[in-house]
Amino acid sequence: MLQNKDTNPKINAVELAIMANRMDAVVREMTNTMLLAAKSSVLGIARDFSCAIISHDDQVLATAEALPIHVLGMDSQFSYIRKYHPDFKEGDAFLDNDPYAGSSHAADHTTLVPVFYDGVHCFTVGVKAHQADTGNSLPTTYMATATDVYNEGSLIFPGVKIQENYKDNQDIVRMCKKRIRVPDQWFGDYLAAIGSARIGERSCKEIIKKYGVEKIIQFQKEWLDYSERLTADAIKKMPKGKLKTKGWHDPMDPILPDRIYVNLDLDIDPDKAKVTVDLRDNIDCIDAGLNLTEATATMAAAQGVFHCLKEDIPANSGSLRRIEVLLREGCLVGIPKFPHSCSMGTTNFTDVIINTTMSSFAELGEGLGFAHGNYCNTAASGVASGTDPRRGSEPFVNQMFMMGGGGGASATTDGMHYYFVPVGAGLLYRDSVEINEQRFPIMIKSMKLLEDSMGHGRRRGGPATEVIMGPRGSKMKILHACNGLETAPKGVRGGTESKLGENVRIAPDGSEHPYPAVMNIDLEPGDLLRSRDQGGGGYGEATEREIERVLKDVKNKFISKEIALTVYGVVIIGSEKNDSLDVDIKATEKKRSEIRKKN
């Protein structure tokens, strides 16, 4: 993958690869530290956090398997910190979550530690972690109903120095403990983030010691340049094309009475090796927690583009130089205007932007792009709170990660089955049933992939997941807001769309009570909650799907015999009882030509 085209590089190609991988190894070490030391399961199990190394001149350098929406933006967060603390020094650590100054949303606490060597600031290491609670007015970190930041109520830390000389500022720790729910959980997570950053600092210093400051600075430039070249090469392989397109978000009673459209203009210019995404022609900020931040609007568009390039692009500031995202100030999907709330600035509208970008590529040519992936961030990934009767009514609050979420199909591959939502990109870990039940007073009745839940096509979407769960012996509250109850992920190039998501309370008498998009769920003992997310959309015509794939799907109960027959035109014979399912080839050929004629 490595082609060094610089005429006179100071670091040869092999050494560049070794150094870059070594930086990624540090990021993985930081990630492991955070994961293993964390107290909340949103961090310790689901890995809803990301670590990154920032260059000496505030560019995102190395991110390993971090979530793109988290890490790109940490660069400008540190630029703000420079402004507030021009005399920053070794031993300092900063806490930042200001959505108006580079951060994603208030729930993502970022710990940033500048790394010095021989008095020179060589790197900054960062850990951005989605907190179980951030002191909002309601026990959730996704507050759709927040009319503004005051109503949201989250504690904001605009580049606050939380450590000096490697010692905590106890004033700030005390402030947090007084306002954040389950304070010991927050403090444990804070310590884990500090530990992760300090481990990163330690390892970075070892690398600088080995190569020397000068070479390290040189490396940063060359690696970012290389990443840019790689991205440019990948764009040059794309067809030239311009497309005006739109996606939308479901209505959300009472905050969004109508569907909201997102206009997205995509311009792929292989000659200039550049992709431009224009998001300016969109509505102003709204009085709800759904506004994006500058960082998340930019990264959502870029992430959609990166998924569609046929190269393994490193997620860093160098690659981002080739993607221009045009934003407008005061726009819902742009640069937010104070005091609008960005409580859900990492999900919902980012998912719309990513899905729309990816399906636009598919419209531009066979073989390109993807069908839509799951929109529905169900209650099974909501923020649950209550008290635990098993532990003397000890209070708890935490985001769960039990949903699956089908990924959209590509031209060559079926969609993933644990894609989560587009912004998760299949990178998040999943909660263990046993760990969840040990931690929280819940009983999970079932968790499984649903038959016929995906969009069909030559390649089908990933199946949806259904989770049924209920509280054990106490009341439980779950707050969340989801998309995808009225809009299904769409298929591309003849592929079909999948099904709608749902969140339903099943009362002890068996009656079912569906929840709207903005969920304020109160479960009594005996109640059950059933959540279904969405499968991904399909790619290409279903009658072109290989018979073997259809048979395998029927055998494994991803596709029913009926859908195999009516959608794929494949006639299944034999019995699952003795594992003898097979295809009647002749009848299938006949059926398929019938379907093709009809279409």
Binding site: R47, Y418, A425, K448
Partner: protein, 689 residues
Amino acid sequence: MKYRIAVDTGGTFTDVVVADEKGFLTVGKSLTTLDRYYNGFKAALDNAALSLNTSGEHLIDNCEVLIYGTTRSTNAIVENKVAKTALLVTEGFPDILTYRHGGKQGVFDLAVELPDPYIPRRLTFEVPERINAEGEIELELNTNKTEEIINNLKNMDIEAVAVSLLWSISNPAHEVKVGELLKKLTPDIPFTLSHKLNPIIREFPRTSSTAMDASLKPLMQQHLRDLEEDLRGSNYKGEILISVCSGGVMHVQDVIEKPIYTVKSGPAMAPVASIAYSSADNLGDDIIVVDTGGTTFDVSLIREGQIKYSRDTWLLGEWTGHLLGLSSVDIRSVGAGGGSIAWIDSGGLLRVGPQSSGANPGPACYNQGGTEPTVTDAAVMLGYIDPEHFLGSRMKLNQEAAKKAIQKISKPLSLSIEETADAIITLAGENMIKSIHEITVQDGVNPAESILVAGGGAAGLNIVPIAKSLGCKKILIPRTAGALSACGGQYSNVVAEFSGSYYSHTEDFDYEGVDKTLNDIKSRLTEFKNYLQSKNINEFDEEYFLSSRYLNQQWDMEIPLPVNEIKNAQQLQIVSKAFHDTHFQRYAVKEEDSIIECMDWKGRLIAILEKPTIPKISVSDKKIEKNRESESYFSETGKVATPVYLGERLLPGMVINGPAIIEEPTTTVVIYPNSKAEITETRNYLIHV
């Protein structure tokens, strides 16, 4: 004279290493016999016996310990040739193996199709039952429904059953009951219960190892029982120990119960041998270990004398493949070896592997019916392997057959035979370099800072250009390189672990309960120790561990227990301090006023086996004599007269300049132009690149 015999059966070759009382090692080699592995072992043993001027029977009669390693189980998993296995899970959770942990490699790459789960959905059956986190029964096991499921397994030709129910670790009653039903209704089908095999919280890793273990049972139990029967039939009376994935050995009976432990066990022994060799020659303790057999190329890593382990060992890809669920030596494998087949793809490009000619038919030059060109055939055509002197002249190779096979591809490529052969060797090397990069460069380790220890029958053919491309300056090729994994068996220990779960925390510590748990572990450990002592093993190490965490932390951390017992506050204080210190060392923070939760307790017994000491010989001032010359081809020089040396004649202190070829009874070492080999005091080869 008493002997210890170590055996390693690979996909192509069976290696035997015999150690005598003085520590001298003798290697024997033969083709693996897939129908009855013992025959290949016996042939390899006879082969070693020949060098010792005795008979295989004599070696068996005088053998005290036999250590057996095999790649049989790994190959079965990788080639998807395990038993047709059913998985029984708690109703409502059929997709544990499909979901895995979540996560994947490649941030932006979404056009990846996830591999199928280890056991497909169609062979997964949901058993109505439920136990909760506290081990209380929420829903009684429905035995009628379970019996119905089990009875239908027969109609589906199921050969093994894995049972993994939620919370079986806190109350195994339902798994035990399902086990009884299986025994009653399908007495001939082997099964594995998750709480017995791997009693850890988190349903995915536990279910994954249970599925793997069950799927290996028909195959591996037969395999190990055949081996034991054949050995006993040949009047062997000593111990039979089996190599396991941790780089240690276990008794055959224990492994028959848990065959999953043999997965990746063969290559796990190579680093054990490498440490012994490298330290005997004072060559440092940062080592890259490569082992090139006939079928696969394995790489492992030693940093500062410590073998790199992996807690998450995946087969067929991290996150998206299959999780072993047990700690094992970290090994990366690719399909590349002496038997790898060279072919031309549809685009007209030359490719090597991953298909291998295996032991049967083997490379074309083996004259066993193989017609495809392989790496070994290329080495014959380049004059690296002498068809008359292969494996110490024990096997005659057919040069004409090798030539014919290579011609099949040299013609369409419009290259000469030698150029084609050279390209085959180079390409095979590229695949190997890539997998060395994976374990070093990708983890930020610079291969240039390590010594390369190369083993396996085919390692010497191209290790010099590989080292050059990696920037490695030194390569150590042991004289016994042909059987590196088997050698590891000679230097390994018996390692056994005994664990118990007992929850308590430091604020209100249950001294009595913990003491009872620790005593129970100690007594089981002592029982095993007594058993080993009855077998004349007398040197032991005992270590005790505690898995604990800060209150409400998600993951627990294992620390060595700094005290033998916890009976008072003072001893508990020492344990707490050890936890805080380890936490600080590992995660750079500690929370000294937090409660510490103690979860699992473990005792580890290491029975230190007597090992051969590596004898040293003083430097000789004898002159080197070549045996003959060979017409060999190198890309730098073209065809050139190349001296051939016999390994047995080479003595410490001698230096051989490339180009040259050194012939050992089980391997051939090619010293390329511009490199040189030095014979060390232990009579191993140190190549300077």
